[in-house]
Symmetry: C3
């Protein structure tokens, strides 16, 4: 067995293509792959979305009705048709991005993402379909 090269950090980004205006895309596997590739054993993983009408969150990825219910409620909290000034017609998406947030932190422990049993990482599209980027930064403690 070859040991992975020990790194002090890793920057990696990957593309995703969304298919609906509002959509949760499970990116847990891709985040785990980046952590494995990094060879980092103890550190922090920051998953970051460099967009202003999309976000990233951690929640249940076992039952697809959970993200569906979350998206439906976000639509009530920030409806597409609101009394908005921004002329591009996507203020609802900017608002959702602020409510959900542009990054999540995950501890890397023993070379693994330290997610809870039911937790997955979701890219949150609020103004799709689009091509999007997800950035992952992993920093090592040692």
């Amino acid at each position: 067995m070859l040991l992975p090269e020990l790194r002090e950090y890793m920057n990696r980004s990957f593309q995703i293509k969304t298919s609906a205006r509002n959509q949760f895309v499970d990116i847990t596997g891709r985040v785990r792959d980046v952590i494995a590739e990094s060879g980092v054993v103890e550190g922090l993983c920051c998953v970051y979305v460099p967009h202003t009408t999309a976000a990233v969150t951690i929640n249940e990825n076992a039952d697809p009705t959970v993200p569906a219910d979350i998206l439906k409620r976000l639509e009530i909290l920030s409806p597409l048709a609101g009394d908005y000034r921004h002329s591009e017609g996507n203020s609802d998406a900017h608002i959702k991005a602020v409510l959900v947030g542009s990054s999540v932190n995950i501890s890397v422990t023993g070379g693994q993402a330290d997610l809870g049993t039911w937790q997955g990482v979701f890219f949150c599209e609020f103004d799709g379909p689009r091509k999007r980027t997800v950035s992952v930064k992993i920093i090592s403690c040692c």
Copy 2:
């Protein structure tokens, strides 16, 4: 006086037992204890909740009416009885977890949590009462 062992990182988790369906539990003291135990002087502390129906936030822990008002408003924003598809009856809790978030960052400066005067760290229960876990990862800069 014995100097604490200098560490490059520390993983620590602790259990809490919540007593209501919706509840803010002040965990500031426990987070401070983990930072002190770590011996880390300069770094970052990531407080992480490995659950999908709970969250963590930083807000005022001086007047208990503040968390009460926050919880009440969250109930308006994501009511227990909504038009949800998820069959477990806790979609409101998943939604609140996404709105509040699964982690907070605190700078560690001079061996201390760099919290503002009125800031405390709250574990946010949205589907209790339950036994819950809080994970704390501290990474050192030096």
Copy 3:
């Protein structure tokens, strides 16, 4: 050309003065300045607000109607005049602070903040006008 001193971390805070009860203040330039001053090439930048009635977020800073629409929607989600118990009359601000969050993470790559094309960093005032503090912690990977 003098090379900047390589640092393992940097703590820096700066003051801002807000002029309205609810206001987004673009602090992107100041965050970029701190990163440049730090000399950190690869790392993480945590922008932190040590207040309980203010927050920090990342969103579009090109068109000023975007923050205006976000603030207006936040006012609907957490109105000033609600059925609140907290006697200071600013529960709406505490709630907004929880919804938006007290910190953001930005990757530092090649000595620069790794923000997306349309992304800026906003200090979010919800109980102004006030003098406020923004804390920036930068930790280096190498």
